[in-house]
């Protein structure tokens, strides 16, 4: 699929122009610089452009056209598209702007051309894009200022300007690309289609992307899961903050979805998230150049103590380990290094070290089984021959099966060395921190590649009972469900606290006696989400008098704080002590669907925001990861001799909630708060629940 899009035999440029400086001219010129395809200009006003016969219309062209590149003004695109359909053209790149990104009229035009493309089965890139480049087929169907160098990185970008910036940067550093795609408005073809293509593309080893959002979250996760097992995928996703996501909405007319959801979805599907364009390019270059490290044990080789220490700090804080060497390594280092040299990690060959010392040290370090990767630092002293050292590095890097990342540190005096590295497609990281971050990305991918994605096991549940509770709620017009719907949890095998409902005071006293003191009393009202705030929870009631007092003050407080709340009654629960409170929740993310949340409960939770997320459905490993990745995990796991909480019971509950929210798309919000987790082996109990149903 999409083969002829990147390797067409015949290409028509609709809106080709004779005027230099026009997009229609630039695209034609770029295409002509390629080889292996015939280019046909389409323009009704002229007969010849750049020596090529020009046709008025694609329908007049005698050959079968594989790809049409459209550069006419937006208003003329629908008719151009229609003609492409009639001419049986399978692929179209719409470079023209003035669509949804520009105006309401543009949005209508975009819908129109998408419908035309759909009608004829045309696959479309854009509109509002820079075009596409494929170095292996020598295709440059874009108005970029230069052609990309050949390489093994496939890049796609939702921003045309980021394409041109990247190409220009690559032009100077010599970084090459296999394919380069400007996604534009993604009216038809989008990131998922190209991810699949890149996976199968032999010329691509690394996939990089700049995205403002994904078109189909669940499919993205499916596709990315498969792709990342074979090739690293590095994505920088903009709109992380509220202001950023507002700009994305305004620019694209989409709701970006929460950043937490993107982070979770990327993590779950093995995508490496870069925080900036710089990081994305750094990582891509590392993947493009280096073999993957076997582990996280790093050696640092430096000619300056200070740089070595900074690098060691950076490694440690990012989660890489500064390795200890074998005895033999130290002995061998001592043989050639000066007496004052640092022989342990970081290895300091001292300021006057020449290329031979660097080479010797590198060879010794590479031979050490405790070294998985190396960071080499070179600072320019008066006697340092940076280009000569660079040459030594190149020689060793080219043959090494372990990654060696370089930081020639400085400015003017390292420029010649940097240029040499670039010429051999080896990155020079401008700071040791950036080299360390890239090495970390390589390490992360080593574990992503071997990660198994097992489908969650289906747990036997009473789905009919749950369905009935939801149907009843919908039938009676209720949108928010609370305590009265604990039955839904029971149907899914989630243990709930022993409780009974009461509609008035005498009933309340009766059910308290039945459950047995002490008890907890909670207000039942679809309108109240924070019961504590309105005096809607009374704890530790020990006798009928307590219950009467609690009931009367509760009713009066609730009426005072929320005079319009509908109150259905109270729920009396058995008082549970000796556990830890956690929260399990779900929100439906606009892009990725059900986003599960786990966090420690209690009064500080809103302040600490110590929560973890995962896109449902999840398997037991992901559930475990959710629990273990909150900062306060040690409190659950047991600190200072405390018995650990029942983590197995929490995993079990997370899996059941995952299944529940997948089974019932009507649930838009869901929260068990708190889930009381007892010590290991004693299980857990849902104490309260809140859900919101969607009404269609």
């Amino acid at each position: 699929m999409l083969d002829k899009l990147f390797d067409p035999d015949v290409i028509a440029v609709i809106g080709a122009s004779r005027t230099e400086g026009k997009v229609g001219h630039a695209v034609l010129k770029n295409l002509l610089q390629g080889a292996g395809h015939k280019v046909i200009p389409i323009n009704p006003n002229v007969t010849e452009i750049l020596g090529l016969k020009c046709y008025a219309d694609v329908l007049d062209v005698p050959e079968k056209i594989d790809l049409a590149v459209i550069v006419v003004p937006a208003a003329a695109v629908p008719s151009a598209m229609e003609k492409c359909g009639q001419a049986h053209i399978s692929y179209v790149v719409v470079i023209s702007a003035g669509f949804k990104e520009a105006s309401l009229e543009g949005a209508r035009l975009e819908r129109e051309i998408t419908a035309i493309a759909g009608k004829y089965g045309i696959r479309m890139v854009g509109p509002n894009c820079l075009g596409i480049i494929d170095t292996s087929s020598s295709l440059n169907a874009s108005f970029a200022a230069s052609m990309a160098f050949p390489g093994n990185i496939a890049m796609m970008s939702q921003s045309g300007a980021i394409c041109t910036v990247t190409l220009d940067w690559a032009d100077r550093t010599g970084v090459g690309f296999s394919k380069f795609i400007s996604l534009g408005n993604k009216a038809d073809l989008a990131e998922n289609d190209f991810l699949e293509l890149f996976r199968k593309d032999d010329s691509t080893a690394v996939i990089a992307a700049y995205l403002e959002g994904v078109k189909d979250g669940p499919r993205f996760m499916d596709v990315a899961r498969n792709v990342t097992r074979e090739k690293p995928v590095i994505i920088v996703k903009s709109g992380r903050t509220a202001v950023g996501s507002r700009a994305v909405s305004s620019h694209t007319g989409t709701l970006a979805g929460s950043d937490a959801a993107y982070t979770a979805a990327f993590r779950q599907s093995g995508v490496i998230r870069a925080d900036s364009l710089e990081e994305m390019l750094d990582y891509s270059r590392a993947f493009s150049t280096y073999p993957l490290p076997r582990g996280k044990k790093v050696a640092i080789l430096t000619n300056a103590g200070g740089l070595g220490i900074l690098t060691a700090d950076a490694c440690h804080s990012i989660g890489l380990s500064i390795t200890s060497f074998e005895e033999e390594t130290i002995t061998k280092l001592r043989q050639k290094l000066p007496e004052a040299a640092g022989l342990y990690n970081p290895v300091d060959v001292l300021g006057d070290a020449g290329p031979q010392l660097y080479e010797h040290a590198l060879e010794v370090l590479l031979a050490d089984p405790n070294v998985d990767g190396i960071i080499v630092l070179v600072s320019p002293q008066a006697m340092t021959d940076v280009p000569a050292i660079a040459k030594s590095l190149i020689k060793i890097i080219k043959t090494s099966d372990k990654p060696i990342l370089c930081n020639l540190a400085g400015g003017t005096r390292i420029a010649a060395g940097e240029e040499l590295l670039n010429k051999h497609s080896i990155p020079n990281y401008p700071s040791s921190e950036r080299a360390v971050a890239s090495l970390k990305a390589l390490c992360d991918y080593s574990s992503i590649k071997v990660k198994e994605h097992t489908a969650p096991v289906t747990i036997p549940v009473n789905r009919e009972a749950a369905q009935k509770i939801i149907d009843d709620a919908i039938a009676s017009g209720r949108r928010t469900l609370g305590l009265e719907s604990m039955g839904l949890l029971k149907a899914y095998g989630i243990p709930v606290v022993r409780s009974r409902m009461a509609g008035n005071l005498p009933e309340a006293i009766a059910v308290c006696e039945e459950i047995g003191y002490p008890v907890v009393m909670k207000i039942i009202s679809p309108d109240i989400s924070h019961k504590t705030d309105v005096g809607g929870i009374k704890l530790n009631l020990r006798n009928a008098e307590d219950v009467e007092r609690a009931y009367l003050t509760m009713m009066s407080d609730v009426k005072h704080y929320m005079p319009n709340a509908h109150i259905t009654g109270v729920q009396v629960q058995q008082m549970v002590t000796g556990g830890k409170e956690v929260i399990i929740g779900m929100d439906r993310d606009p892009q990725f669907g059900p986003l599960l949340m786990f966090g420690l409960g209690g009064v500080y939770v809103e302040f600490l925001k110590d929560v973890s997320f995962a896109v449902a459905p999840i398997n037991d490993k992901e559930a475990q990861h959710m629990i273990a990745s909150i900062k306060t995990y040690p409190l659950i796991a047991g600190v200072r001799g405390e018995t650990p909480s029942d983590i197995k019971a929490m995993i079990d509950t997370l899996l059941k909630v995952s299944q529940l929210v997948m089974d019932f798309p009507f649930l838009t919000e869901f929260e068990i708060n708190p889930l009381m987790v007892m010590p290991e082996g004693k299980g857990c109990l849902a104490m309260d629940v809140r859900m919101t149903l969607r009404k269609e």
Partner: protein
């Protein structure tokens, strides 16, 4: 000929809706139905002459041919008020009776609608009980039951009526679901013990409080940016989009039949509202949204309207609008009739009015 005057202690209790619904039902049963709102208090201009807005609407909806001057013989203009305060005799009683005679002609039953509150018009000796006495008809009281204080209001109304002989009975309206039980088990028996016949207990209905997008556009003097074909969609609530986008989408999803008011520059909130499929987006501050957002709204069939005012003043206007809706849409009339059929003892009312014999 039978007749009944529908009165309430407060405005916006559902008098017009009740008159309309009863009118439709009685017509269905083959009665010739007349309608009057003797004292007009909601003045509008109809083809150059003043008329009462409610009365004008009901005349149309019940398909009546009577002159507006017969349906509403007395309009509460400033002149009339000044004259009444100065003690000028305007012959209002005879105007009232003449109009009533005209409307009654050839009719089996005439429904009369009170003006505003039960005591309204007292300065012209035309409060609802006075009108009822003058025209020899009975009063049907309708009261919104929002809390137990409604019972206080009903007992006060009883004192205004003085001669309880002319009170046919009452209807409790807009009772919220959680109070239905209390009302039927405690309130109704209490009132009946006081000699007040309760003909019906009608639960609240959000649809009837709703307003159409067109009404919002008119009231806010707004510009329609997209969605002109969805002007008759009904809005039941309004929500204010001033929070961060993550909370906004949850908040909007809980009330999809809402209009969302937000700044024209809050594209994230606008997209959240579109995603949650709300009924209408009201953008304030005369700030136009981006074409991309408008395109998405249009695709989702959600009207977007733009107002000059800021969010605060727009909220105030919406507050006044929703819940004070006039009955204009066919769907609402149908709903009113359904509610009356289900929750009001229409046969009892017919007997009470002396119809059907």
């Amino acid at each position: 000929m039978a007749s009944m005057l529908v009165s309430s202690s407060e405005q916006y209790s559902g008098k017009s809706s009740l008159c309309l619904g009863l009118g439709v039902l009685l017509k269905e049963r083959g009665y010739k139905v007349g309608y009057m709102k003797p004292i007009g208090n909601l003045l509008i201009d109809v083809n150059g002459s003043l008329a009462d807005e409610d009365a004008q609407g009901i005349r149309k909806l019940l398909g009546l041919q009577d002159d507006m001057s017969s349906i509403t013989p007395i309009l509460l203009t400033e002149n009339l008020t000044d004259d009444a305060l100065m003690g000028v005799e305007k012959g209002l009683d005879s105007r009232l009776k003449e109009a009533y005679e005209k409307v009654s002609k050839g009719r089996d039953v005439v429904l009369l609608e009170g003006a505003g509150g039960i005591g309204g018009g007292a300065m012209y000796n035309l409060s609802d009980p006075e009108v009822a006495t003058k025209l020899d008809t009975k009063i049907l009281l309708i009261t919104r039951y929002d809390s137990a204080q409604a019972v206080d209001r009903i007992l006060c109304d009883l004192r205004i009526i003085q001669n309880t002989e002319i009170l046919a009975g009452m209807i409790l309206n807009e009772v919220s679901p959680d109070k239905l039980e209390q009302v039927s088990h405690l309130v109704v028996p209490f009132l009946e013990k006081k000699g007040i016949k309760v003909f019906g207990v009608i639960p609240e209905d959000h649809m009837l409080r709703s307003v159409s997008v067109a009404e919002i556009v008119e009231d806010l003097n707004a510009e329609v940016l997209v969605g002109a074909s969805h002007m008759e969609d009904l809005v039941e609530h309004y929500l204010v989009g001033a929070m961060e986008v993550g909370s906004a989408i949850k908040y909007f999803r809980r009330m999809p039949n809402a209009a969302v008011i937000t700044g024209g520059d809050r594209s994230d909130i606008q997209m959240a509202a579109i995603e949650a499929k709300v009924k209408c987006l009201v953008l304030t501050g005369n700030l136009r949204p981006s074409g991309a957002v408008l395109g998405s709204a249009e695709e989702a069939n959600i009207p977007v309207i733009l107002v000059r005012g800021d969010t605060m003043s727009t909220i105030e206007k919406m507050e006044n609008l929703i819940g004070h809706a006039r009955i204009k849409q066919e769907v609402k009339i149908k709903r009113i009739v359904e509610l009356i059929k289900e929750y009001v003892d229409v046969d009892g009312l017919i007997t009470e009015m002396g119809l059907g014999k």
